[in-house]
Symmetry: C2
Subunit: 271 residues, 2 copies
Amino acid sequence: MEFDDEISRRNLIKGAAGVIGVAALTAGGLGFISKAEAAKKTSAQKSSATLPWPYKKFTAAEIKEAGNIAHDNWFKGFCSYATLSGMVEILRRKVGEPYTSFPMELTTFAHGGTAGWGGTCGTLIGGGVAASLVAGPKIGEEINNEVISYYATTALPIFVPDHPKAQIKSQNTSDSPLCHLSVGKWMKKEGVGFLSPQQMERCARLSADMSMKTIELLNLWADGKFKPTTKAPFMANQIPSQNDCTECHGSNIPQTSGPFGTGLSLLEKGH
Amino acid sequence: MEFDDEISRRNLIKGAAGVIGVAALTAGGLGFISKAEAAKKTSAQKSSATLPWPYKKFTAAEIKEAGNIAHDNWFKGFCSYATLSGMVEILRRKVGEPYTSFPMELTTFAHGGTAGWGGTCGTLIGGGVAASLVAGPKIGEEINNEVISYYATTALPIFVPDHPKAQIKSQNTSDSPLCHLSVGKWMKKEGVGFLSPQQMERCARLSADMSMKTIELLNLWADGKFKPTTKAPFMANQIPSQNDCTECHGSNIPQTSGPFGTGLSLLEKGH
C-alpha cells in the first residue's frame, strides 16, 4: 500500500518521541528527526483528530469564489462534495494543513439524499461537515441547523455562477430538508425531469447557496456574533422530524416521473 | 492558533522539497529534514487527501468489537459518530495513519436525521463516510447503498452489546432510510417515547448493526468479492426517493408525541 512507508516512518517517530536526544533514522533512509520534531509531530497528529480546526474569515470575494467552486464541482462529484469543497478548497489556500490533507470526497456518497435515496439533501451533509471542521461538533451542528432552516424556508437557488451550464427560470421553497421534496417540487415548477440540464444546474447553484450560507455563519461565529435562532425540531416535536407534517403526509407531494409515478404527465393536470 | 507552528513547519518543508540536498531548519528549532524526508511528506499529504485509504480486513472478533465500540460511543456522540467511530477506532490500532489524525466527530451533527430534522438516519451517514474512506467515493457509495437497503428491509436492532444501558424487547423493519420513520415506528412498537432509555439503547444497537454491516461489506470488497445487489433507487424512480411511496404518503405514518401529534396516546387506538 502506498501508505506503508509513511506509516512505518510515523511509528518510528512515535517510538522515538519518548527518548531524550535520540535521532531516529527514518524508513526513508537519509532523514534525521530530532526529539523536538518528533514531539511536535505527535502533538499535531492529536490536534488534527480533534475539532475544531483553524479558520480564517472569508472576504465577500472569497465567499463568492466558494460559491463558484461549489457550483463547478457539482459536475465533478454532485451536491455534498460540491458544498464541502467550496469551503475546503479556499481554506487549503488560506490556512493550509490540516485542510490540505483532508479527503474532500468522503461525503460524495451523500448526493441525491444519500446514495440517491431521497433523504437529507446532500448539500446539508457537506455543509454540516464543513461547519463541524471549523467550529467543532457542537457549534457545527447549531450552524448546520440554521442552514437547514434557511434551506427549508427560502426560495432557492439564489446564486448565479460565473459559468452556468444551463439557464433556469424557477426558484422554489422546499419546506423540507429532504432531497426528494426539494428537487421534486422544483422540477415540477420548472417543468423538467431528473438529470435534465436544468435540474443539474439548479442543484449546482443550490450547493453554492449552502456553501456560502455556511461560510457566512462561520464568519459570524469567528467574530463571536453567531447566535442560534431556531431550535432543532426534535426538541419541539419529541421525535426527529421537520415541523410541517403535511409536506410528506397529504396531497402536497412530488410525483415521480418514473415507474413509481407519473410526475411529468401530471403537470398538465395541475397537480 | 495551535496549528500555526505545524503549518509554518510544513510550509518550510514544502519549500524545501524542490531543492536538492538542502536540509531545512524547522520552526521547531533543532530538527533537520532531508530532501528525501521532505518529498515523502509532501507525497503523504497528497495521499491522505485522496481516497481510498489503506485497509486491513477485520476478524470476526474485531467486527464484534466494532459493534461494542459503536454501541458505547452512541452515548458519547449519538448515531453517526457511533457508527463511524466503531470502524475508525479499530483501524487506528490496525493501520495507524491517516486514521489516527482523522477527526471522527466531523459527522456528529448528522444524528437524528441531520441535526434532529428526521432525514437520513445518521448511522447511514457515518457508515457512508466509513465506507468511502476505505473503498473510495464510488465503491463507498455502492457499499452504502447496500447498507441502506439492508437497513430498510431488516428487523433491527440485532446486535446485543456486552454492556447494554437498557433492556429492549422489539425489533422492527423501517421500510425507509429516514430517522423519522425508523425510530417512530420502533417507538410505537416498543411503546416508549423519544429520549427514553429504551429508544437510546435501540439507536445505539442500530449504530452497531450498521457499523458491522459496513465492515462486513468492506471485508468482502477487500477480497474482491463485493458485488452490488441493488440499484440506487433514483435510477428506478427518476427522482431521488425510496421505492415504497406509501411509507410517507398515506395512513401508515408515525405520530409524534409532542405538540405536532399525539403519538403515544394513539397507541391505544391501534394506529
